[in-house]
Amino acid sequence: MEHHNPGLRLLRRLCPDNLFEGIEGDLVEQYQKDTIKRGTAWAKWQLTLNAMRFIRPGIISRNKFNTNSNTTVMWKNYLKVGWRNILRNGFYSSINVAGLALGLGFSYLTFLYVVGEHNYDRFHSKTAQIVRVVESTVQVETGQQKNSSSVTAIPLGPLLQQDFPEIESFTRFGSWSTSIKIGDDVFKETVTVADETFFRIFDFNVLQGSDKLFVNPSEVVLSEESSHTFFGNEDPVGQDLLIEMGDTLKLFTVAAVVDNHDGESSQHFDVIIPFENFKRIVGEEVYSSQNYGLVETFLLLSDNSQRSFLQEKINDSFLTKSKEKNDPNALVAYLQPLREMRLDDARPAGISTVGNPTYVYVLTCVGALILFMACVNFVSLTSGHTFSRMKEVGVRKVMGAIRGQIRNQLMMEALLLCLVGAVVGLTSVYFIIPLFNLLINSTVHFSFETIPVLFIIALILIIVIVAGGIPSRLLVMLQPAQALKNKAGNNGRGNAMHVFVVIQFTLSLALIIGTFVMNRQMNYIYEKNLGFDKERLFQVSLNNPASKNEAARLVNLYQSQASNSSRLMAVAAQMNDYEEPWTRLSFMQEAGDPEELYFNMVDPNYLSAMGLEVVAGKWFDKNQKTEGSKQIVVNEALVKHFQWDDPLAHQIPGKNFESQHEIIGVVKDYHFSSLHNKIEPLILALDQDAISEGVTGLTTYRWPPMYNSLAVKISPGEIQPALKEIESIWREVKGDSPFEGAFVDQSLDAQYANEQRWKRIINYSSLFAYTIATLGLIGLVRLLLQRKMKEIGIRRVLGSDFGNLLLHFSKGFVTLVVVAVLLAWPAAWWAGEQWLQSFTYRVTLSPLPFVVGTLTVCLGIFFVVGILTWIAAQTRPVEVLKNE
C-alpha cells in the first residue's frame, strides 16, 4: 500500500532508477517505524513529506555518468578534431560549404528583395493614416461595378475634405511630361504637381533648402538625381529654371532638394511644382470638371480606424447625389491604404508605381525551395559522410565515449561547417547585390535585418541538430567492434540518402521545366503576330506641342519634308503611342449602361505606317480635311463587342451622341496594349470631335487630345542613315525642342520588361537550384563509391572495364530519377498552367519542356556518376583490396 503514496509515486518518476531502490527502502523502513510509534495516518503523512524532501537537485539531477567529466575540455577537443576533419576532407567540406553558402545567400537575397517590396511606403511616419481614393462607377439598380480607376477628378480632393471632417488633409498627385530649360540646355522631364500638403502628409525629407515648401506657386522642388542632372555639383537652391507649360515657358525657382526615396516610395517624382500650375496644363474647364480622371487623390485620415466607416459615409453621399440627379449610375470610392498600394494588383494602375504580388510570392517560394534544398543537401552529405568515419567513432567508443559525446562532436563539426557556409554566403550576397540590382532593375540594399538573421541562426541550429543527431543515433547503435571493422550494416541510412536525392531532383527538375515553359511563353510573345508591323517602325515625340493646331502644323511640316526622302516610307501622326496606356472614353449607352472604349486620334497615314489591314469598308481618305471630320474606323473587337452584322450601318450606341459620327471602316485587330490583356474595342478617328460630344468621362495619360507623336516607317535598307534623317528633319521642323524617339519594338520590350526581369530571375534561380542539386549529387555519389571501393576493386580484378562499372553504378540512379520525374511532372504542369493563365495569348503546355528538362537532369546525373566512377576506377585494385 505504500506504493500508492503520492509522494513516493512522484519520486519514482523523477528519481534516477539506480538510486531509487535504496531510497524507497529507507523511506518504507521509516514508515514502518512511524506506524508503530505514532499510527498509520501520521506515518503516511510523514512518508509523503519525506519522499517530497527527496525531490531536490542533489537527487533528481544526479546522472549515472557525466557529472564528473570535464565538458569544457571535451568541447575544445571537438572543435580541434572537427576543424582537422574539415581540412582533411577538403573535397567534401568545400562541396558542403558551397551548397549551403549558395542556398543561404540566394534566399537572403530574395528575402531582402521581398522585404523591400513589403516595406514600400512604410517610411512615412503617417503611413497608416494615408489612403488613396480609387473610384469606380456602379449601376444603382444592378449593383454592377465598372470602370475602376485610380486616377480621379481634380476637384474630388477639396470636395471630400469639405464634406467629411474625418479627413485631416488631402493632396493630389499628377504629372505630365514636358521640357525644362536651364540656360541653353533643354531637358525632357516628367514634371509632377502636388498640393502644398504633399510634404506634410508624406515624409520626403528636405536635404537642401527651406523647410517651408510651396509657399508660392513658382517654387520647384527637385530630387537629388534631377538636381544633379540640371546643376551638376552647384548649389541648386535659388537657381531658376523654365518649365514649358502649354505654349509658354514659366519661370520657377528651386526652393529645395528632397530625398525622393527612390525604390521605397510609390510616388516617384524628380521635379515637383505646386498643384495650381496644373490649371495651365489641363485648362480651366477640365480643372474644375468632375468627369476627367487625371490625378491621384491621397487623403490623410485623422484616425486609421475610421477608414471603412469613412468609405461607407462617402459612398452613401455619392449615392444620394446621384439619386437626386436621377442618374442611373453612382460613383463608388474605395479608400486604398497606402501601405497596401505597392502589392495590390486588384486596383488599376494609376500614376504611382506598383509591384507585382504574384512575382513576390513566386520569388518567396523559389527562395524557400532553394534554401530547403541546400539544407537537405547539407544534412544528407554530413550524415552520409559520418559513416565513412566509423573507425574514429569506434575508437572513441572504446575509449569510453558515450552517445551524448559522439553527438556533441558531430554537431560541433556541423556547426563549424554551417558557420563557414553562412559567412561565405552572406559575404557573397554583399558583393552580388549591385549585380542583382542591375539584372532585375531593383534597388535592394544590403542590411542585417533582425528577423532574417534570427531566422538563419535558427535554421543553422536546426541543421546542426539534424545533421549531427541522425548519424549519432545510428552510430550509437553500432557495437564498437563492428564500427572498428568498418561494417555499417544498416540499410536505413541508405534509404534516407535516396530520399534526399529524390527530393533534390524533384525540385530542380520542376524548376528547370518551369524555366523552359516560361522562356517558351516569352518567346511566343516576342514572335507573336501583333496585327501590325513593328519592324522598322520608329516613334518621334512631338514634345508636347502647345496646342492642337500647333501639333497639326508640326505634323504637316514634317510630312512634307519627309515626302522627299526615299528612306522614309510613311510618316503618320498619332495621339497615343506605345509608351503609355491608351486613352479610354466612357459614356452612357442608350440603355443606360456605362460603356468604355479605347480611343486613338490618328491621321490617314497611320494605316500604311503601322501596316494595318482593313477588313471592311474603307480607311480615311488622304486628302480629307482632318479638322471636324465625323468619320471613325473601329476594330474587329468593337464589332464583336456590339454584335453587329454590318458595322458600317451602325453607330456607337451612345445615349448623348448627338452629332452624327459615321463608321466608315473596320480594321483587323491589332495589339495596342500588352499581351496580358485581350484586344479591347477601339475607335480610331482623325479628330477627337468626331465622338467627343456625349462622352461623359475620359481616362488619359495625354492631355489635351491632340497628336503627340509621329510613327515613321523606315524603307528597306540601312537603318542608320534613315535615323539620321529622321532627326535632321525634326531639327528643321522644330529646332528648339529636343529630339526624342524610339523604335516601337524597343518600346514593346519595355512593356514586357517586367516579364523579362522575371524570366531572368527564374532562369538564374533554376540554375542555382540545379547547381545545389548537382553539388549534393557529387557528394553523395562520392560517398557511395568510397564505400564500394572494394567492390570496384574486385570487379576490376575480375575484368570489368570502366564502361561496365559506369553501367553498374548508373543503374542504381534510374529508379531515383523515375520517382523524381513522377513527382516533378505534375507539380510543374500545375504551376506552369497557373502562370500561363495570366496571359490572354499564351502557348499551350507541350511535352517538350518536360522531356528536355528531364534529359538535362539525367545528363547531369550521368555525367557526375561517370566522372566520379572514372576517378574511382583509377585507383589500383590492390590498394583497396589489401585492407583487412
Binding site: 531502490e21 535504496g22 527502502g25 529507507d26 524532501r53 537527487i59
Partner: protein, 112 residues
C-alpha cells in the same frame, strides 16, 4: 589531499559510516546520529550527502540484502574507503594540531 574540504555535516556522516561498518545505510545513519549526538537529521539530506561523498570517492556503495520491514527493497550499504579514512584522519589531526595551539590550562598567572 590539500584541496579536499569536507563540510561539517559531510564529516559527521562520513564518520558515522565508518562507525557503522557493514550496516551503514540511510535509516541506520539517521538513527545513529540521533543516538550519538542527539541531532534530528533528515533522511534526504543524509542521502544527498552520501552520494556526494561517493562522488568524491570517500565512500562506496553496493546493494545489500532485503528485509521485510523495507517491503522487500534492498538496502544501499555504504562503506568508507581508504581515501575516506585518510581524509577523516587528516581532518582530525589538523584539528588536533590547532587545538594544541589554544592555551588550555590556566597555570594561575592571573591569580596572584
Amino acid at each position: 589531499m590539500s584541496k579536499t574540504y569536507l563540510g561539517e555535516f559531510e564529516e559527521l556522516v562520513l564518520t558515522i559510516v565508518g562507525i557503522l561498518q557493514d550496516d551503514a545505510y540511510g535509516n541506520a545513519i539517521v538513527e545513529e546520529i540521533k543516538q550519538r549526538v542527539d541531532r534530528d537529521v533528515n533522511l534526504s539530506a543524509v542521502h544527498v550527502t552520501l552520494y556526494r561523498l561517493e562522488d568524491k570517492g570517500y565512500v562506496k556503495s553496493q546493494m545489500g540484502g532485503a528485509t521485510n520491514e523495507r517491503g522487500g527493497r534492498r538496502k544501499r550499504i555504504f562503506t568508507i574507503t581508504n581515501a575516506g579514512l585518510a581524509v577523516l584522519r587528516a581532518m582530525k589531526e589538523s584539528r588536533m594540531d590547532l587545538w594544541k595551539l589554544i592555551p588550555q590550562l590556566n597555570f594561575g598567572y592571573g591569580a596572584s
